[in-house]
């Protein structure tokens, strides 16, 4: 397994401790991506930057940085997919009522790091699952379909569906336990 270079490991260690220099370096990388003219997300810059900082903090603490790329590339990637998230949210929430927006802003602020951590863990679990497994979880837990309906959707026998679903859910829960450790 490739090992992290010393400079990257020092930056991560300093960032976790809150050292100004490392914080500044990473902030420069984040800002370079977020404030790129192509995103069109000026009004959300501050929120995006703060969310990326928190994600990085969470992922560094959980040693989720993959050593196959440099730290700078990793920070760029986290920032880019966060920007895509915000673009998608922006497209979806054009119809959201003002009331819903106000309720969100009153959310207990100290829980936001916990929520970001939880969402990051779930996203990383779902990235590791196969597409078929994600479909199964969607049908069972989001759409609340019965096992007969899932049989029809997947075009498999009832016994096969039950064992396949059971296996898929076990995989997801085991992955979750690995992240929580």
């Amino acid at each position: 397994m490739p090992t992290m270079n010393r400079k990257d490991s020092e930056i991560i260690a300093g960032y976790i401790k809150g050292n100004a220099r490392e914080y500044f370096i990473i902030n420069q990388w984040i800002t370079a991506v977020v404030e790129n003219k192509y995103w069109g997300l000026q009004q959300q810059w501050a929120d995006i930057i703060q969310e990326v900082r928190m994600k990085l903090f969470v992922n560094f603490k959980r040693e989720q940085f993959r050593f196959s790329s440099s730290l700078k590339t990793y920070v760029y990637r986290v920032t880019k997919y966060t920007c895509i998230d915000y673009l998608r949210k922006k497209n979806r929430t054009d119809e959201v009522s003002i009331e819903k927006v106000e309720i969100k802003s009153q959310e207990d602020s100290f829980e936001s790091l916990i929520r970001i951590e939880q969402k990051e863990i779930l996203r990383q679990i779902f990235l590791k699952l196969k597409e078929r497994c994600r479909q199964i979880l969607k049908m069972v837990f989001l759409q609340n379909r019965s096992y007969k309906e899932v049989c029809l959707a997947l075009n498999v026998a009832e016994g096969t569906v039950k064992s396949r679903v059971s296996r898929c859910i076990q995989d997801a829960i085991e992955l979750r336990k690995d992240f929580i450790k």
Binding site: A32, Y38, R53, Y81, L113, Q118, V140
Partner: protein, 282 residues
Amino acid sequence: MKCSDKKIAELLPWYVNKSLSKDDEGRVMKHLEECPACTKELEDLMRFRDEIAQYPDELFTDHVYPEELVVYAEARRELSREDLARIETHLESCSACREELQMLQQVNSSLEAPSTSSLFDRIAESAARLVQGLFARPALAYIAVLLLLFPAYLGIFKGRQSSDPTLAHINYDLTQSDMRSAEGLDNEIHVKSSDELFSLSFTVPILADDQIRYDAVILDDQKTPVWSREGVQSLDEYGTFLLMCPAEFFDEGEYLLVINEIDVPEKKVQQEYLFPFSVKME
């Protein structure tokens, strides 16, 4: 610990989503009364279901996952053959994802644009190429160019100092007293026009063996919030933690930083700190 009755265990996901028939539901409920393994598994399932139900759009997107799209844009070799095929099939039919991919490619081009070297470097490089033709050994050519250009550098370019990133900074050291407020301490921060951030750090008289959760807000002299942040800080061995503030939100004037240290299990403010400071622009 696993349940010996596999048939019942396999019904648990549908017990959670309440789609079982009355008969099956009854069988599961009866079984749960006497099977701790299935009771535990049911708790895990319900917790998992509650968590994923909070982020349906992100987790169950009909589009390519943003993380995968980013990797597809810049490092396709990292994707499995199966994932690559799935993403490419989706991109053929989804204009939204194609637009996002195009945007990523534009952002990547923008990030990779070469930085222009200094005028001195470009002149030195051009002169070295010219002189190289006159000297047999390139090394001599470069030395000659530098010797010729050095006086020019002193005269023309000396005024330009390359600047490492620096931060305007105040440190509040509260280890010598019980003060929660830093009034009376030197608390003026000088921010340059080129600064994007300034930092405030605090050395506090608490045990530095854990993280603290905090809630910080900066008020102007009208008591209007100018900036706020919450999060978790790790303390270094001296009990110091750090806030980074974007300079663009501040004008010259007087400000008050209020930090609430949050006790997470009790969900209440454990300690409040008040730090007045003033900002001077340079």
